[in-house]
Symmetry: C2
Subunit: 233 residues, 2 copies
DNA sequence: GTATCTCATTGATCCAGATCAAGGAGCGCC
DNA sequence: GGCGCTCCTTGATCTGGATCAATGAGATAC
């Protein structure tokens, strides 16, 4: 994935409905911009109007900035995700690349206008927005009421769902984010996250390979550690 | 607001576009159910499919339940709000009335189908969903990175925005939720919330009248306490 | 291959907010 | 209008995770 055309084609095939007319495709093309981001770089976008982003390839984090230099990671995104960057309000937001990323950006208002005649696009936007809201609510519960161990377990399970490769009863993960990113996402410190990893490793629930490799060995036990509701035993 | 007809009319006038045809209105009527909830009662809804709720009148809280009996308030809603109750996943959710409430409920999937021909309804659904997501993200930052005092200040400011009555430079609030609800919303305990109220009162930033009355005396100072980004000084 | 630099782990101490424990005040009920 | 109950406030103590402080291990550059 390198050229602007590739990126746009990727957007077309994954977001627009199958038999979208060529004139509509052309309309979206005039609205969208292709951006390549290197790791640790953040997307520059107008802070007074929301922007729609389609992540063609890569992984990003959405970060909220409070006063001081405190940061909270609101969400991680992976290849194929569609997300809305809010205009800055009481806090400011940035989208930062975790690895090399290709994305398409659209001014939200104009995109919406273009989509109005194609309710399948609207429906999809709504659907994806609902999934984001759902994830955000789970995060709220995690941050509001869970212990460090529960947070880290929840995090691993959620990553397993999104980027895990199942191998028998195990799930392999290649985490694109650093311990700092995980800590900022879970409302913890690097040290605490590291200690929970060690704890889970010592209990035989996970194995780690290098900085980014994690294998979940006992998903059932992790579910219990995560404080999830017992599925009727 | 008491009869089923009143409630549905309220929904029609606040959610459906102005010149919606009578046959469409009739369609939505067949999908919707009117429910009255007394304080502390919760809405019963199928746990395997999402439900759309329009709050005609009253105030509610959306609560997530983790294992043990820990609860996290995900959001408060007030008259005129439209919200989506997710199907239960790793956690379960309930919608509970804070005061007497009238609401209209719709099966989400069927509502969406009915709305497909009316992209104004879709657009509105999307818009409201985006606002919910935005609020949820602010909450994430609050729960992840803010101190008790910052959380309570943020909470008061957010309530001021939604249900405050401005009187000169002051804002009057009549909070429909208990200290317990506030604590469960901010990831704190009742005691800590109470102590922050006392602190803010002692600093002359708020005045309290009885259990539910709060007057914000210094919105600017509260903004500072809330850890909001300084508006270019 | 190895030097170096960054990121992760581990250990020691500290503190904000939880927990435990009484009082006090508002509000509904009779 | 006062009785009683619930919710709120205040105080004392405890603790999980933050902070401070070294190591240790992976990745990158040469």
């Amino acid at each position: 994935m390198h050229t602007c055309t590739d990126a746009f084609d990727c957007f077309v095939s994954r977001v627009l409905p199958k038999r979208t007319g060529p004139e509509t495709v052309r309309l979206f093309r005039t609205l969208g911009s292709h951006v390549h981001l290197k790791p640790d770089r953040h997307l520059h976008y107008p802070d007074d109007e929301p922007t729609l982003v389609f992540l063609c390839d890569g992984a990003t984090k959405l970060v909220a900035h409070a006063s001081d230099h405190r940061e909270q990671v609101l969400a991680f995104h992976f290849t194929g995700d569609l997300l809305t960057l809010p205009a800055h309000g009481a806090h400011s937001y940035t989208l930062e690349a975790l690895v090399d990323c290709d994305l398409m950006t659209f001014p939200y208002a104009q995109f919406l206008q273009a989509a109005e005649k194609h309710q399948q696009v609207l429906t999809q936007l709504l659907e994806r927005s609902t999934v984001s809201l759902q994830r955000s609510r789970e995060k709220t519960l995690t941050l509001g009421r869970k212990s460090a161990l529960e947070r880290v377990s929840s995090f691993l399970l959620s990553m397993a769902e999104r980027i895990g490769r199942g191998e028998g009863s195990e799930v392999k993960l290649d985490l694109p984010m650093s311990r700092k990113d995980i800590a900022d996402s879970l409302g913890l410190t690097i040290e605490t996250v590291s200690r929970q990893f060690t704890l889970l490793r010592d209990q035989g629930l996970i194995r780690t390979q290098g900085r980014s490799g994690v294998t979940l060995l006992r998903v059932d036990e992790l579910d219990r550690r995560a404080g999830h509701l017992r599925v009727a035993a």
